[in-house]
């Protein structure tokens, strides 16, 4: 019995040591600290992994902003859901992942000024009888990415947790579901579906726009509530947009010029 107690004590101590080691390694010296930026690198062209490296529009943009603000950053792919946990628990300093600024999220997190304009669009096979968002209501099955504004938009049309809405881990799976015949449409951010159609002409998908049903959305950098970074980042974002760096990055990834006026109006 004594022996058992000793062994369990040793285990407990070892366990606590490991725990405390984990706890201290994340925080570290202040001042010259490298900010931990988390992302969900499965959202081309915003962020995706190219041979193990996280790249994309968002990544170029945040690097430009960090340079402008004089901050050191390290971008890390953690996944969509963990991203929110990390920021909530303050184990990460910043999140960038085409995150739409909305009131629900603002309750739990802080956002910078908007840096990107986006709307949800509908992806359907060629010849589909879905012509507008209203057509989605006629008993159609719709695939979306869980926890995105696409999901919210569809739930706004069909009602929360409607059985006709299939929620997937990411947009790739949702589009695959459409391709395999398990859904009639996918609702997701315009850049994602447009990019998909451009890259996969063989699938014969078309993109439907419905600006009456789906509101304009703005992406922002997400921070833990009460983050001190906000003021610096806001300033840097405005500067990057004003000095043309933003347009250069935008053109590199989307091949068109951005409408920066809309962003400036939002600031």
């Amino acid at each position: 019995m004594k022996k058992l107690k000793l062994v369990s004590t040793v285990f407990m101590v070892a366990f606590l040591l490991i725990l405390s080691a984990c706890g201290t390694s994340k925080t570290g010296g202040e001042g010259e600290k490298t900010l931990r930026v988390v992302t969900d690198a499965a959202y081309a062209p915003f962020e995706y992994q190219d041979k193990g490296e996280v790249v994309g529009f968002d990544i170029d943009f945040i690097n430009a902003v960090a340079k402008e603000a004089g901050l050191k950053i390290k971008v890390e792919h953690v996944g969509w859901d963990p991203l929110f946990v990390e920021l909530d628990k303050k184990t990460a300093d910043l999140g960038i992942s085409a995150i739409t600024i909305n009131d629900e999220r603002k309750q739990s997190y802080d956002f910078t000024v908007p840096y990107f304009l986006s709307t949800n669009k509908i992806l359907v096979p060629e010849g589909s009888d879905i012509k507008s968002a209203a057509d989605l209501k006629n008993g159609k099955t719709i695939a979306v990415q869980n926890a995105t504004t696409g999901q919210e938009a569809v739930e706004g049309l069909l009602g929360k947790n409607n059985e006709k809405i299939k929620k997937f881990e990411n947009n790739n799976l949702a589009i695959l579901e459409l391709k395999s015949g398990g859904a009639d449409a996918v609702v997701a951010d315009n850049t994602v579906v447009e990019q998909y159609v451009k890259n996969n002409p063989k699938d014969k998908f078309v993109v439907i726009e419905d600006s009456n049903a789906f509101a304009k959305e703005f992406y922002g950098l997400m921070m833990p509530k009460g983050s001190k970074l906000k003021a610096d980042l806001d300033k840097a974002i405005k500067e990057v947009i004003d000095n043309g760096t933003y347009a250069k990055i935008y053109k590199k990834w989307f091949k068109v010029d951005p409408d920066t006026q809309i962003l400036k109006d939002q600031q």
Binding site: D81, E104, R105, Q151, N161, K166, K167, E169, S180, G182
Partner: protein, 218 residues
């Protein structure tokens, strides 16, 4: 940590529905997996190496590749091949059954091979055929020894059915993730789901230990 009971109450009906589907998926897969597992286990034990080879390959494949990949493959490629469209629930049952069968077949093989050779010899000398001896003499004895590892496998299966959330099968974990996506809160949905899984696996352990005691001979 503040725990929002109100959103939990709102999602309670969904969790209930999800739990029922999880139980259904698990029971179906346990039954199909056990039957398939027995056949595959017997197949692998055949004397003729050439006939036993396909069964070995089956086990190697399903035990050696991630369940996640199997689920995606079967959902997006195999099921649409037969029905023309995807069906998350069917895909989940098929994958879980096929995957469990690979593990269960090895449990069967170990159980059967643990029975003394003399049992088979005695049965055969009573005039039973090989199949009769297997069914009446060897398997009942082997089954008793297989209960603990089978229990393990069933518990793993219940928990792994949560992967079906990926293909949007509306089971327990799916609703947990849906709730998380709705409110951007992680602990309420995930801890609730974890507790329900724990209750499910505990109930199964209880049933299996009852069965084990009932079959005890000494």
């Amino acid at each position: 940590m503040d725990f929002r009971w109100d959103i939990l109450a709102e999602y309670a009906p969904f969790f209930l529905k999800g739990t029922l589907l999880t139980i259904g998926l698990s029971i179906a897969s346990i039954i199909i997996g056990t039957v398939l597992g027995l056949l595959i286990g017997l197949g692998k034990m055949m004397r003729n190496k050439l006939l036993a080879l396909p069964f070995s390959i089956y086990i190697t494949f399903f035990r050696g590749t991630p369940l996640l990949v199997q689920i995606l493959l079967i959902h997006f490629a195999v099921v649409p091949l037969f029905t023309g469209s995807t069906n998350a629930i069917a895909a989940a049952i098929v994958t879980l059954s096929l995957n469990a069968a690979a593990y269960i077949s090895e449990i069967f093989r170990a159980g059967i091979q643990s029975i003394d050779r003399g049992q088979m010899e005695a049965a055969r000398s009573l005039g039973m055929t090989h199949a009769q001896s297997m069914w009446n003499i060897i398997l009942p004895q082997a089954f008793k020894r297989m209960i603990p590892p089978l229990g393990n496998e069933f518990i793993v299966l219940i928990k792994e059915s949560s992967l079906a959330a990926l293909i949007a099968a509306p089971e327990l974990m799916y609703w947990g993730r849906a709730m998380q996506g709705q409110y951007f809160r992680v602990w309420e949905p995930y801890i609730t789901a974890a507790v329900i899984y724990l209750v499910l696996t505990l109930s199964l352990s209880f049933l299996l230990s009852r069965l084990e005691r009932r079959l005890a001979t000494e």
